[in-house]
């Protein structure tokens, strides 16, 4: 009994699904070059004092990693649809090992997406110190925890047909309100709503690395609360999800 074998094959399966793999990584890159390319010489984006390529690299890094996290849900939904979920339930695979494999595959895709965007950013002249890259990456990985749980939750609640629109809409909304596409004003209703979303702190994670300050307590709390709520929901959905789909 070696639970790592299961995880290893899950990772392998993800890497082998070429269409999934290329689309997940490629789409944020295309967006980045399309939007940031023409503005590569704008060094004061929207009055923030941040160069445009850096702003969009960060924004698309949050977009790409969120997509990567949630796409694990799409994979779960299709496994359920063919009855594989029920087949796994009659093996000794523990929920813990199951979740670990799913979370690790999601993070693998997220990390690859980040790496691709960092390289793309560097090609448009983004240059940060090693410390900044690391701090930004570290905070983003923490900020993605609730998204991993959200992906698993959606995967066990929805069908392959319904998860597409749910993910597309969810990611667009989270990205929009999180400040991926344009900076969120520093006060007002939109700002208040945005601060309650994990995507806002994902985008902030990268801002912090640009010489700003670390997440305030509010950021950590928002991420922690979303993590707790969504992990509970996904654990419950997993437990109940033993019927024929």
């Amino acid at each position: 009994m070696n639970p790592l074998v299961y995880t290893r094959y899950e990772l392998l399966r993800t890497l082998r699904n070429r269409r999934f793999f290329l689309l997940s990584l490629g789409f944020p890159l295309i967006l980045f070059f399309t939007i940031a390319g023409p503005q590569r010489d704008n060094h004061n984006f929207g009055g923030t004092g941040i160069p445009a390529p850096v702003y969009y690299m960060i924004g698309l890094a949050s977009f790409g990693t969120m997509s990567a996290m949630l796409s694990s849900g799409a994979r779960i939904a299709s496994e359920r649809a063919v009855g594989w979920n029920r087949q796994l339930r009659i093996t000794p695979l523990s929920p813990r090992n199951y979740f670990r494999a799913k979370v690790l595959t999601a993070y693998m895709m997220a990390l690859l997406s980040l790496a691709a965007l960092y390289l793309a950013g560097a090609s448009l002249g983004v240059s940060l110190t090693a410390g900044e890259w690391l701090q930004m990456t570290g905070l983003m990985l923490v900020g993605l925890i609730p998204l991993a749980a959200l992906g698993i939750w959606l995967g066990h609640m929805l069908t392959p047909e319904s998860i597409g629109p749910a993910m597309g809409g969810g990611i667009s909304l989270l990205a929009l309100l999180g400040g991926t596409w344009f900076p969120i004003a520093s006060h007002g209703f939109l700002h208040d709503v945005a601060q309650l979303l994990p995507s806002y702190w994902l985008v902030q994670a990268s801002h912090v690395a640009l010489g700003g300050h670390a997440w305030p307590a509010r950021g950590w709390i928002v991420i922690a609360v979303w993590t707790i709520v969504l992990s509970r929901l996904s654990a419950r959905a997993y437990r109940k999800d033993t019927g024929r789909v």
Binding site: M1, G83, W84, R86, Q87, R89, T91, G243, R244
Partner: protein, 333 residues
């Protein structure tokens, strides 16, 4: 249905010579599978659908039991409860003295569910290896692939397989854990004759090692050929439970129809293998307990018989007679 029955019969007969697997002695009082008082309803558009309405079965370790019944009898729902995939509304399940989920967690159960495809992007060998890795004492992957006839395409991706090949891989997935209890829910539904032959040969070999096998089927012939015992379900209840030959005698009647003028009813009833006679004008209908013996005797005694037809009574029909009602039998999904 009758065509299918005939081809199955032929496939089945040459295996009967191999002899039936003998049941291993029960290992103490704990070594049983007990389903008692199981009840399960589902919400339906017209009120609750009572899929299982009180099922009691006790299976000794080493037995091979067929769960026999028409579609909608509640077989799959019962199996889902046995595997812990579905919580009963009432009643209990114990698998060798444990709850189903404990038995599953300890790797004591293997199953081939009725519906189920394979996940993509792995080769057959990798998939079976992945499943084997989840169990405490799995069989050798190569040996299982060999046994189930999957080794010739073990290197192929699971999404490039034919329907029959997929079924072979699914049986490998169920067997690789070397489970104490193997549960098969209508396993041969998607198989061709050759596939069935190989499948049952494999399962017979598995059962011969003292393992407990429970399989759901709606083919009486499968139950007869591979099980020690058959449990008949209809409308969510058990309507008969006993050695397969007894069950077969109860429901396995065939009817010989022929045009045969001028022969006494009693004379026909006296033929070997004939249970009952009906006459309508020149046409006679003999319901047979042994149609093979009956047809030989009939032709030997009355060569004038013509327009001969032999038909198996469908299980559905047999069950309706056994349960004595044709009413309201809505089963599980």
């Amino acid at each position: 249905m009758s065509e299918r029955t005939t081809s199955m019969d032929a496939a089945v007969k040459d295996r009967l010579s191999g002899g039936r697997a003998t049941a291993a002695p029960a290992r103490g009082g704990q070594a049983r599978i007990e389903l008692s008082g199981l009840v399960k309803s589902f919400a339906g558009p017209n009120g609750p659908i009572r899929a299982v309405r009180g099922v009691d079965v006790s299976i000794a370790a080493g037995e091979t039991v067929a769960l026999l019944g028409p579609n909608g009898a509640g077989k799959s729902t019962t199996i889902d409860m046995l595997l812990g995939l579905l919580a009963p509304d009432a009643g209990t399940v114990t698998v060798f003295g444990r709850s189903p989920s404990d038995a599953v967690a300890q790797g004591a159960v293997g199953a081939m569910l009725q519906t189920g495809a394979l996940i993509k992007d792995l080769s057959v060998r990798e998939l079976v290896t992945m499943i084997a890795s989840l169990y405490p004492a799995p069989l050798e992957v190569e040996a299982v692939l060999e046994l189930t006839g999957a080794s010739e395409f073990a290197g192929q991706r699971t999404n490039k397989l034919s329907g029959g090949q997929t079924q072979r891989v699914r049986s490998a997935v169920a067997l690789v854990s070397d489970p104490e209890l193997l549960v098969l829910d209508e396993p041969t539904a998607a198989m061709d004759v050759e596939g069935r032959h190989l499948f049952w040969t494999t399962m017979r070999g598995f059962a011969a090692r003292g393992k407990t096998v429970l399989f759901a089927t709606h083919y009486l012939e499968e139950a007869d050929a591979y099980a020690d015992r058959a449990v008949l379900m209809a409308h969510g209840r058990i309507v008969a439970d006993g050695p397969t030959n007894e069950i077969k005698a109860m429901v396995g009647t065939r009817t010989i129809r022929a045009t045969l003028p001028g022969v006494e009813r009693d004379a026909l009833a006296a033929l070997p293998g004939v249970g009952g006679v009906e006459r309508r004008g020149e046409a006679v209908a003999l319901s047979c307990t042994d149609s093979d013996a009956a047809i030989r005797a009939l032709l030997a005694s009355y060569p004038a018989a013509r327009d001969i037809e032999i038909a198996a009574a469908g299980l559905e029909q047999a069950f309706l007679e056994l349960t004595g009602d044709g009413a309201g039998g809505t089963g599980g999904p």
